[in-house]
């Protein structure tokens, strides 16, 4: 995974709450067996509306999304994160994220930063005043700079560390191989096993 530190990019507002992962990418786009190329599915139903924010010329090429509360609810599909990433987003901010979405983001190098509802409104107002504004996201100091506005965001320390270092989770876990093997040696023998298959 690429290391993330400070970057600047076009910031876009998504003034909706409860943006579930079925809206982020509808199920019909989940049939691919590759891990890239999901940008066409991003907000596929909403993008058919010419008025939709990401169809506006001033938000073409947006890299930072600021959405209403309860972003990423519903289905566990990591495709939602892949679609945002493939579309060009590097960071999403909301006052509340669904747990699975936030976890998936952290695994894929997409910042899911928590900001207050008041700051969400303030950023939206700043964008409304000057659509096409660029913003700077500073992951190490957990700040977003939007014009004159400076907003702090929350992200858990561990995810931040992994993102800034570009670390792979599996590699980190496998450093605990001995502990895993020891745990396995002590598991009760009656715990169920799928093999050999029974009831077939």
């Amino acid at each position: 995974m690429e290391k993330i530190s400070v970057f600047s990019g076009l910031i876009a507002p998504l003034k909706r709450s409860n943006v579930d992962t079925d809206q982020i990418i509808p199920a019909v786009y989940l049939k691919r067996i590759t891990k890239t190329g999901f940008e066409d599915g991003l907000f596929a139903n909403w993008r058919q509306d010419p008025e939709f924010v990401l169809n506006q010329p001033q938000f073409q090429g947006a890299q930072i999304l600021v959405a209403g509360p309860d972003f990423g609810t519903g289905s566990s599909r990591e495709h939602a994160v892949w679609a945002l990433r493939d579309f060009g987003f590097k960071a999403v901010f909301s006052s509340k994220f669904a747990d699975i979405f936030r976890g998936n983001s952290g695994k894929q190098g997409l910042i899911a930063g928590v900001i207050s509802e008041a700051d969400t409104e303030a950023i939206w107002a700043a964008i409304d005043a000057e659509p096409g504004l660029n913003a700077t996201v500073d992951l190490p100091s957990q700040k977003i700079l939007v014009g004159e506005l400076e907003v702090s965001f929350e992200i858990d320390e561990y995810t931040k560390w992994r993102l800034t270092e570009g670390l792979d989770d599996i590699g980190i876990t496998l450093q605990n191989e001995a502990a895993i093997a020891e745990f396995e040696a002590n598991r009760a023998s009656w715990k169920p096993k799928t093999l050999p298959a029974k009831g077939v």
Partner: protein, 471 residues
Amino acid sequence: MSQKPLTLAEKLWRDHLVVKGENGAPDLLYIDLHLIHEVTSPQAFDGLRLAGRDVRRKELTIATEDHNTPTTDIHLPIVDPTSRAQVQALRDNTKEFGVRIHSLGDKNQGIVHVVGPQLGITQPGMTIVCGDSHTSTHGAFGSLAMGIGTSEVEHVLATQTLPLQPFKTMAINVEGTLRPGVSAKDIILAVIAKISTGGGQGYVLEYRGSAIRSLSMEGRMTICNMSIEAGARAGMVAPDEITFEYLKGRPHAPEGADWDAAVEYWKTLQTDEDAVFDAEVFIDADNLDPFVTWGTNPGQGVSLLDSVPNPDDISDPNEKAAALRALEYMDLVPGTKMKDIKVDTVFLGSCTNARIEDLRSAAEIIQGKKKADHIRMMVVPGSQKVRLQAEEEGLDKIFKDFGADWRFAGCSMCLGMNPDQLAPGERAASTSNRNFEGRQGKGARTHLVSPVVAAATAIRGTLSSPSDLEK
């Protein structure tokens, strides 16, 4: 030595802790069972291949085909080439890595959350994961069961563990006795309406109280299934005699001395008397009505006896905006009686409500009754085994005589990845779990209901409860 009293969720966490995280790092938990399906696994297997890794515990892993699979003509190749390729990828991957799979046509094929319990491989006290948010279903057995993303699927395949930040705990106390025609589905829809779709975020829910204790395993699974719709990653019910009775004799249930050892452990899986939950919610089962949704998230629900709410009565600006959008999408007018809403299609299926008990309860309502002429009804058993059992009991005949479509097992119209979809503008009463915009088909309108409300609705043609039917 006095020990800190623990909740059930905390006990399960303790019993699966491999490495305690330090300095903000997550804990590393051992995973007892990993369920796999075709949609969220291909990229995970690819990741293993790229890194030259194997599946660490093949004997703790099991796959089934469910999300994409057709529910008609299952003996033929899948028509849609992308669906076919995805199912084929699962078959190839499980073969290459030596993972057990139940494919189309196999009696254990079906929705992954129906298959695990029916095989008896879902047991109390386990940690269970799957690349599907409705994995919370398995919490009905007193397990810590949660949905994960594809990166985590790869992680569990490679390491049989998962790094997790500890959750908070929330007790959902449901006391009292449900009235006739009111079921587990109504309890969970009422819970979600009460705490909202974000209310459970960061929590594991434990459903407790007399109304939960008197539910069958099927009912408990319905409730735990929809924990994710309240934002909670997991929901659970402490195991009891009903749990043990359900498990005994199932293919993978322990036997003999192993059974005794297992039950002895399972009986310890109760929240300690003095344990403290981080939050508590109370639901009165005595006065609960059948619950239905009017909007586009599962928290937008009301009693079937109520009317479509007026957004002007909602104080929270975000919720008000969401309600306005939802009413526009659903083409509903505030003040309309829920029972006056005419539906086009009734879907009885999904990991929420497609087990044998769900099919029985709906069949009991429609038996000898006539379907409303304009209604299309589709019945999709949760697994091939449920289908076979229903046929043995003659339920298929009741559904077919009624005029319903009797299908093969799978996720089907719950998410419309296969051809089972609603048309734009079509309105459904659905026993599934999500009424999101476009979930059951582009422009489709979904009302979430219980199996008996689905059945009564199919008879009357408008949202109805069994008590609305002529005797």
